[in-house]
Amino acid sequence: MSDFWDDVRQIASEVVAPFKGLGTIGAKVIEKKTTVQYPEYRRPMGVRARWRHVLNRYDNGMEKCIGCSLCAGACPANAILVVASENTDRARYSPGERFAVRYEINMLRCIYCGFCQESCPTGAIQLKDTFELAENNRKALIYTKEMLLVPDPNRERVG
């Protein structure tokens, strides 16, 4: 039970409503579009974005990774393979006793959770903001140590 004229007003507003809606949507055409034209323009990535992994080095060019396999153990998707080997005085890769001979990440399995980064005792592995990772075959998505390792800052680039 409601007032008659209230209901009349209600019905009148309901008749007008679709046209109001058309006006609202029509005004959208001249508004500025929110689309970013991606390959040409990019939005800045968040500072804590978790995308492609890198293996870091110390300032003197030594690899931070000591081949402890904690990242492989922490990985919920079982995507990381670490094969460690002893450092010798002739061939020294990392400051510790051991280093990673093979370090592979299967990016098809990786879920970008960042557990490897958290578990790493030396801060060797880190997820950075490179996100364009598409390839057209599976093999290319198994990243090897050479692909993951950042370039040695002390070594001159030749050629």
Partner: protein, 483 residues
């Protein structure tokens, strides 16, 4: 036979003077024009829809393939044709394969009577057909069978629900639509599509003498001489224009019929807010869930071509077809002295000016379609039925009766009062009846409300005892003993 004779046979002579082979060639040419205009517009419509929907939603829409994304529909079509054509195991094979054709064929069939200019030889695929609107109504109703058959034969619950919805939808809106079309037939007094637009049954193109002025209260047409050739042409004169189009005639009854038709043409094309048969949120993809590859493309093409067709019907019926918004803009004015040869004047009038207005109106209407789709949410199933049966049908019926009354009075009063006087006489009676109906309905509703209010004030308020389920409050149990 010289080239000039062949040319005359094919393009110049009136239809009743040409030989049989020229008539066949003319028919094929007209058919090609119609197919090009009808199915050729489908990619443009797809592009327009996707681009405009993007704009309405604050996006840009496809803009990468070709200039402004114009080749996007071609890429889509190519993709669809490259896909595997899957026929599921348990479908009713014959009907399943037939359904897309049943959906597309009526659309192409209805192209035959849609006029694109006033020419008796070139104005449509079948320009002189007398029952054009009847044909359109008949053919447009077949289209829904494609949807229903697809839903039935797919052997899929969602498809079946989509098909059922399509069939219940078609019976709820087609009555209102038919009645609104009938209203236009009453106003125009003809079923031929070209006559409907022109307001005249000009079946013999060169029978009237130059200098004749035709007027019937709808269109004011001058018959002008074409050079010294002995042929005549028609010219809509300065007194005719947008106010002669059917949506403004017998105001506001023409407008109401237009509104009803425009609502039901949304329902006819299964588009938002009436896209129940393919409601993505409820029915996967509705009737075409099981269709892939080219069969899906046929449904898609049928839907968009149908959108074009119903817009064209709407323009033909209500918005003056190929005519311009002012009589003089509908053709080359005879005063310019350009009516030198029949070929030249006809060419400019029929191939340049008429398509310009026609396609302008057509695309304006289609933009409106897309705008509506971007604005309104989908109606619920029962809301559509209620809207069709309890909203559109009574309004259309009352509108039709009022138009009939107005026209009957005008017919009687015309000899004594002339066109304008008869118009006012008929309209005032119709307006009075409409106002009386509205007043009676309003009064009935008002008394109902006041009676209810009075009853509520006089009767004691009976408070029903509130029964709550007895809630057992759990007592806190003793803490579990340690150890």
């Amino acid at each position: 036979m010289t080239f000039q004779e062949v040319w005359n046979q094919l393009f110049i002579l009136p239809a009743d003077q040409v030989v049989w082979w020229a008539e066949i060639v003319r028919s094929v040419l007209r058919l090609l024009i119609a197919l090009l205009g009808g199915l050729g517009s489908v990619p443009i419509l797809v592009w327009l829809e996707r681009r405009l929907l993007g704009w309405f939603q604050g996006r840009l829409g496809p803009n990468r393939v070709g200039p402004q994304g114009l080749f996007q529909p071609l890429a889509d079509a190519l993709k669809l044709m490259m896909k595997e054509d899957i026929i599921p195991t348990n479908v009713d094979r014959t009907i399943y394969v037939l359904a897309p054709a049943v959906a597309l064929a009526p659309v192409i069939m209805s192209l035959t009577v849609l006029p694109w200019n006033g020419s008796r030889e070139w104005g449509a695929v079948a320009p002189n057909i007398d029952v054009g609107i009847l044909f359109l109504l008949a053919v447009a109703s077949i289209e829904v069978y494609g949807t229903i058959l697809a839903g039935w034969s797919s052997n899929n619950k969602y498809s079946l629900l989509g098909g059922l919805r399509a069939s219940s939808q078609v019976i709820s809106y087609e009555l209102g639509m038919g009645l609104s079309v009938l209203a236009v037939m009453l106003i125009a007094g003809t079923l031929g599509t070209q006559n409907l637009v022109m307001g005249y049954d000009l079946s013999q193109p060169h029978s009237l003498l130059p200098g004749t002025h035709l007027t019937n209260g709808q269109a004011w047409i001058d018959v002008v001489a074409v050079g010294n050739t002995g042929y005549t042409g028609y010219q809509h004169n300065i007194a005719s224009g947008i106010w002669d189009w059917h949506f403004l005639r017998l105001f506001p009854f023409g407008l109401i019929a237009t509104g009803i038709y425009m609502i039901s043409m949304l329902a006819e094309t299964n588009r938002a807010p009436f896209d129940l048969p393919e409601a993505e949120t409820e029915l996967v993809a509705g009737f075409h869930t099981e269709y892939s590859s080219f069969k899906f493309a046929m449904f898609f093409m049928g839907e968009y071509a149908n959108m074009l067709i119903v817009s064209a019907i709407c323009i033909t019926l209500f918005f003056g077809g190929w005519l311009g918004p002012w009589g003089l803009l509908s053709q080359l004015p005879a005063e310019t002295g350009l009516y030198i040869t029949p070929g030249f004047a006809d060419f400019i009038n029929n191939c340049v000016i008429a398509p310009f207005w026609l396609f302008g109106k057509l695309y304006a209407l289609i933009v409106f379609f897309i705008w509506v789709r971007a604005t309104f949410p989908r109606l619920r199933y029962d809301m559509l039925m209620k809207f069709g049966w309890k909203g559109l049908l009574p309004v259309a019926l009352a509108n039709l009766v009022l138009i009939a009354i107005s026209l009957a009075i005008q017919e009687v009063a015309r000899p004594s009062l002339g066109y304008a006087g008869a118009w006012w006489a008929g309209q005032i009676v119709a307006w009075a009846i409409a106002a009386a109906i509205a007043g009676i309905l309003f009064y009935l509703k008002y008394t109902q409300y006041t009676a209810q209010k009075k009853a509520a004030l006089t009767t004691d308020l009976v408070v029903a005892p509130i029964r709550r389920p007895s809630v057992v409050v759990p007592t806190p149990s003793a803490p579990a003993p340690e150890g």
